[in-house]
């Protein structure tokens, strides 16, 4: 995904000389192409995320379109107040890009687990939050945030994610992509969890439980209509995210369902349990500790039908 991002950013920067790329000394073997092509608009600020975010605000205030880049929680939590005060409050045209959302840096330990970013950034007024599912969505998302005036957060995986969209989807910020149609239930996933959602959907479909699958690449603003249609047209909703179950996609969907007063067959969240964890391991290992998506789906359908 990060390759798709940097290639697309270079294309955008070729056409738009307002685009700058700032890094807090991370992005080795990723950012060099931009640095070589646009040396006057590339800046490594050193290991100093607060300064990077403030500089970006100052650049945006001067008509530039800065993209700040780092990994995991560094471009968000480390400079959260700069994001809140200097960027969002001023509606500054700054794009924040994190590589390694979720457990992409799983073996590196807790400091590198980006599992609360969606929750915390969702609370910032004016922040658009995008978590593409695969390199195809990452390209669309990069173009879309550069074209969107205002603060955006782009949460990327890392590298070598498979392409899930075999044909180009219709991509629009704030509009979910229906990747698979069905009625038994709806899996609403964000980010790279679309891959697991599609795999589980395949198993469910084989058993006659044909699910709808939505790629909710934009977590904010959420595609509320897609959620409400899923509630009305399918057996229930399961949110799927590589993120804490507190405050992320699942919570955003729960808000929509509860406030609309609509009837929904069931609603479940798949995500990272809200508890202190000392677990180390691969992305797959850490995700396996979040539970079994297939079992969660089948038990939800069973319970709903029994009720």
């Amino acid at each position: 995904m990060r390759t798709a991002f940097i290639e697309t950013l270079c294309e955008a920067a070729q056409l738009d000389d307002r685009i700058w790329l700032l890094t807090a000394d991370l992005g080795y073997s990723v950012l060099e192409t931009f640095a070589q092509r646009f040396p006057r608009r590339y800046l490594n600020v050193g290991v100093a995320e607060q300064n990077m975010a403030g500089i970006a605000a100052g650049l945006a205030h001067s008509g530039k379109l800065p993209v700040i880049y780092s990994i995991a929680n560094f471009p968000t939590f480390r400079c959260l107040e700069q994001l809140r005060n200097d960027i969002c409050h001023h509606q500054a045209n700054v794009k924040i890009v994190a590589v390694g959302g979720g457990y992409a840096y799983g073996p590196q330990g807790y400091s590198h687990h980006g599992i609360e970013d969606l929750a915390i950034l969702r609370a910032l007024p004016g922040m658009t939050i995008v978590a593409p599912a695969d390199p195809v969505e990452a390209r669309f998302a990069t173009r879309a945030i550069c074209a969107h005036a205002g603060p955006c957060y782009l949460r990327l995986g890392k590298a070598r994610e498979p392409v899930l969209h075999m044909s180009p989807p219709t991509f629009q910020l704030g509009r979910a992509i229906q990747v698979r149609s069905g009625r038994a239930l709806t899996l609403i996933s964000t980010g790279g969890m679309l891959q697991e959602s599609l795999a589980v959907a395949e198993r469910l479909a084989a058993e006659g439980l044909v699910p709808r699958v939505l790629s909710m690449h934009t977590v904010k603003p959420l595609d509320e209509q897609a959620v409400l249609r899923a509630a009305a047209e399918t057996g229930g909703i399961l949110s799927v995210e590589e993120h804490s179950v507190t405050g992320g996609l699942g919570s955003a969907i729960a808000d929509v369902l509860a406030l609309s007063g609509c009837r929904v067959g069931f609603f479940r969240k798949f995500g990272v349990p809200d508890r202190v964890s000392h677990e180390v391991g691969s992305q797959e290992h850490l995700l396996s500790l979040c539970g079994d998506l297939y079992r969660l789906a089948t038990s939800a359908v069973r319970q709903s039908r029994a009720a």
Binding site: R40, V45, G46, G54, A57, G58, L59, H61, K64, E81
Partner: protein, 284 residues
């Protein structure tokens, strides 16, 4: 041929007009803070003379065009001294002086900490410390990249220098040769809980900035000729950012407020307001 120096009389007239502006800023601040039952008079007064010189003489700004592309930018990072900044802007003609009566009132544009929204002349909102200098670095970078003539100033408090984010910028600006950037430290030696020396000593402050690669000018921040000189002919050294360390007195201008920690917080009552105004009006 060098241009003829301004006559001594002309210089004196300008200085007297700037001093009068400083007094008017202080009077506005007193009335605003009293009416709002607000605080931070001491912080406003320590930098009132700096603001008078900046808005009265040094900054290339145009109140009729607050967004003029080539204006000098002043980022006031010590957002708690908002009343003085609003007063200076009103005096400079950015908005009607009557607006000052709304300071901190319900529905006002003039928040207790500097707010940009709907307030001509304010570059950015501030209030949480340690945000202004990074933003000023970004503005300076953009100005240099676009070869614009504007200069960027960041006005910081001393207590604010406890924030690590400033030191990220203090490292950054010389590395990138941002000589269109000038930081001004309002070094009044008192922060929220005591003297700077007691809470977290900054000394040797000038040496620290110098060691990081800045051109350092140290001045008496209440001496108008010194202030004027410090923000003239910038940068003193090409390729380096400049810092003006302005030694100031918290609460300067009103005897019973000077160097008193309490006046970081207190709001003058009617009697104190009258006494303070009398003292400022009598000062020459």
């Amino acid at each position: 041929m060098p241009s003829a120096p301004a006559s001594r009389d002309a210089v004196e007239i300008e200085l007297e007009s700037l001093r009068a502006l400083g007094r008017r800023i202080r009077l506005h601040v007193l009335r605003m803070v009293h009416a709002a039952d607000a605080s931070h008079v001491g912080s406003c007064f320590s930098m009132a003379d700096l603001l008078a010189v900046l808005y009265g003489a040094a900054l290339r700004v145009d109140p009729a065009r607050p967004d003029w592309e080539d204006r000098d930018r002043l980022v006031v990072s010590k957002g708690h001294a908002a009343a003085a900044v609003y007063a200076a802007l009103a005096e400079r003609g950015f908005f009607p002086v009557e607006w000052l009566d709304t300071y901190c009132q319900n529905g006002s544009r003039l928040a207790g900490h500097i707010s940009h929204h709907g307030v001509p002349g304010i570059e950015v909102s501030s209030g949480s410390l340690g945000h202004g200098l990074p933003i000023a670095c970004g503005m300076a970078l953009a100005g240099r990249c676009d070869e614009r003539p504007y200069r960027v100033f960041a006005l910081l408090s001393d207590g604010e220098l406890d924030e690590g984010s400033n030191w990220e910028s203090i490292l950054f600006a010389p590395h990138h040769g941002l000589d269109n950037l000038t930081a001004i430290v309002d070094y009044n030696k008192i922060q929220s809980f005591g003297t700077v020396g007691e809470v977290l000593d900054l000394e040797p402050l000038a040496d620290k900035w110098r060691a990081f690669g800045w051109s350092v000018r140290e001045i008496d921040g209440h001496d108008y000729p010194q202030i004027l000189a410090s923000v003239s002919q910038l940068p003193p050294v090409a390729g380096r950012p400049t810092v003006v360390i302005a030694h100031t007195i918290k609460g300067r201008g009103v005897g019973f407020m000077e160097n008193q920690l309490a006046w970081h917080y207190r709001s003058p009552n009617a009697e104190q307001l009258a006494a303070a105004c009398r003292e400022i009006e009598a000062a020459r």
